[in-house]
Symmetry: D2
Subunit: 102 residues, 4 copies
């Protein structure tokens, strides 16, 4: 979604930007926490448990962004119709495939 | 693996600690990079692509830690035999299940 | 997409129905093959390798169905707009979340 | 684990063979059920939901087989020690990686 002149483009997630930034900062903290655990030779299984938690948190951010993208960017492209719509759906499907396979 | 008196416990990954720390610091950088992308209203699909990359990097760290855990902690417990071995294998299986489901 | 009177509803995948059926029949064959491997006490790792192959094949069918669903069912609902569109996008996002978490 | 002369090799899962076969037969039924859903033009989201269920069932069989493999095949190889043990752990780690990435 093109922003007005000089303004940044509006994205599907722009309305929830602060919430997404907060979640990403928390995940950054989780990854720093993992470093401390390894630094302190904490038990492998405990480190693995925390990595699974960080992975799930990242996954949840992806699903949130994808939902916003479908609601805004893809919906607007479909409303325009034609090649714009086809390209946006193809792109979304490829992103979903990367998500499923990561 | 119990360390000598006053020493931290040795873990399966202790021998590769620096390599794991380096990878975790890089992932921390990736997550900060995600924050900048969201801050700058970068395109949703591009943010999603970078999240998939960070998720795969975390996954690779998990698999590395699991491999070291099997080679050292589980192997030593099995060499001791008895309940210690059973408990260690059960624990490893549960960690593998969490990994697969995250 | 409602079919004409007495006709089955048209689905996003209806155009590629034969291709999807062929892939599902192949996956059915893979699962029967797994049974033969277990019946014949084949090596655990070899059975696990074939299960990963069957899981990937199922995943690919899901991604194909999701792509068709976005292209047809979701696109049509969005073109109609209003609550129909919102509901269809919400539903698609939930299906994507199940896919990612399975 | 080598079986006696003329007998099939014993595998980690041999003791639970019937339970694994039963689960695989049920998954085969689920995949046939998917074919019927597609044959009958059932709603895409409903088909996707059933595919996620079949994928989770396959995943659970993998985790069960891996657990048995660790308990029996890997444990026995570790008890023997030396290269046999290293090879078995390397092989298990690779199978875990395939599981995580499928």
């Amino acid at each position: 979604m093109a922003g007005a002149e000089g303004e940044k483009d509006m994205r599907g997630y722009t309305g929830d930007k602060e919430a997404f930034l907060k979640r990403l900062r928390r995940i950054e903290g989780q990854v720093r926490g993992l470093q401390r655990m390894v630094e302190n030779d904490e038990y492998c299984i405990d480190v693995l448990t925390q990595i699974s938690a960080a992975t799930k948190a990242l996954q949840a951010v992806s699903l949130g962004l994808m939902d916003e993208h479908l609601k805004h960017c893809v919906a607007e492209a479909i409303a325009q119709g034609g090649e714009t719509a086809d390209e946006k759906v193809r792109e979304a499907s490829e992103a979903i495939a990367r998500l499923v396979r990561s």
